[in-house]
Symmetry: C2
Subunit: 272 residues, 2 copies
């Protein structure tokens, strides 16, 4: 394991946590306390980070929320704030990019150099050369979409070729061919626990980022049962809405802290 | 056909052109004449647009180049400039996004509302709900990755399930299930002419965006032979580097105009 996944493992041990908090601010859902601020997304995230940083192993801002709201500057400030006030807690920038080599190199530059992220999510549809420019940053994490949490993820991912589902082909490529720097992981949705179990058997060493508990309906117990390993750092269970929008009042930060601690403890309670 | 593809067809007829110019500025390759400017990407694009707008059916800025260089503002200005000075020539924002529904909706907002693009490229790996928020903008075009032009595109796209390659499954989904607004098209690389021919037979009505001629090595003759239809508007042949970096001097715009006209005439010469 190189830098990013070492950071996750260290933060996991330090905070006894497999929880990743998704920083996905949405103007319509922000508490009144920050809605009128000049930088509502940053002020919101700052309070969330302050209250949750003792209970997480990483953060995961979803780039789309900042891009859609024309608030890229607040994304940059958020990542900088995490690095400054929660040193050792790495940041996954959830971008799900995928493009031809020369273009992917620009996206890698965007995520790692412009925004200073410690890891990204990447889409494998275009094959190795769409992923390689990210993998070449050997200290950074590259978490590749495998079996995603959304309702229609099976449209393509469940197609069976040579006796294996497409998502299994992705897992094998990542495990056997794309992980020469030891900096690759998989995105596996909590909403498909059988596939999670199968993937964990196939890839006992690979770190999994698991979205889909909480608002999307995945079960924490099933995720831990099928996805956790004996050591820390190979499972990052993401919750966004369930934590960041736990409170609507002026104490929304505190409410998020309570929710993050609760999820952390629930996860740990499910470990054998 | 709805709005975007009607615009492409009208521009194609008006300019007798199937050429799409890719606006992919790269600081390392910009002519000295604009390198020192305050807005080098915008100034570069402006000269390219001025010189090429009579020879194209659409433009395609690749978002990664602006994102990697922290020049999103110049992307916005470029799209605005095209709409202002080349009315009726639509703009495809090449973003290749794909994410769960609520997130994809943010990316759709980014492309169509924040940047004012007329169409986007989208990645199908996550299935229908990753594509639907884009398709729901019925006046906008949604061009879905099918068989991409890059060297490793076959890693997943060529896997065969139920007797059909993955890219054929994508084409069928788009043709039969995802095109209820008539605003969907396919990305099919010029570098795989046999697959292009097969896809055109499968989908005679769908518009194809074909990157990969020029720097990537695809043959114009093969693309026209296998991809063109009797009417205009179903084939957009993209060239980026071959046109925009045709000249290195102060007359780089003019050189791009000559290259765009040359490609247009070459394409038209290949039509039956």
């Amino acid at each position: 394991m190189t830098k990013f996944f070492e950071l996750v493992a260290e933060a996991s041990v330090r905070n006894r946590s497999m929880v990743c908090v998704g920083l996905d601010p949405d103007m319509a859902k922000l508490p009144e306390a920050v809605k009128g601020s000049r930088e509502p997304f940053f002020d919101f995230n700052r309070a969330i980070v302050d209250a949750t940083k003792g209970y997480v192993c990483c953060y995961k801002p979803q780039a789309a929320f900042y891009a859609g709201a024309d608030r890229d500057g607040e994304l940059l400030k958020t990542i900088g704030y995490i690095h400054e006030t929660a040193p050792g807690i790495p940041v996954i920038l959830d971008v799900k990019r995928g493009d031809i080599g020369s273009t992917a190199a620009q996206y890698a530059k965007e995520a790692f150099e412009r925004y200073g992220a410690d890891a990204v999510t990447v889409n494998p549809y275009m094959g190795l050369d769409a992923v390689k420019p990210f993998l070449d940053y050997e200290d950074k994490g590259v978490i590749i979409l495998c079996r995603t949490s959304n309702p229609h993820s099976g449209d393509l991912q469940n197609l069976v070729a040579d006796g294996k589902a497409l998502y299994e082909h992705v897992a094998e490529l990542v495990r056997d061919e794309w992980n020469w720097n030891g900096n690759a992981g998989l995105v596996v949705g909590a909403t498909y626990p059988e596939e999670l179990a199968k993937l964990r058997k196939m890839c006992p060493e690979l770190p999994f980022l698991v979205p889909g508990v909480g608002a999307q309906g995945g079960s924490v117990e099933e995720v831990v049962k099928h996805g956790a390993t004996a050591d820390w750092g190979r499972l990052m269970i993401n919750s966004s809405r369930g934590i960041i929008f736990a409170g609507k009042g002026a104490d929304f930060g505190e409410a998020a802290g309570v929710a993050a601690k609760k999820l952390r403890d629930e996860v740990n309670g499910c470990r054998k």
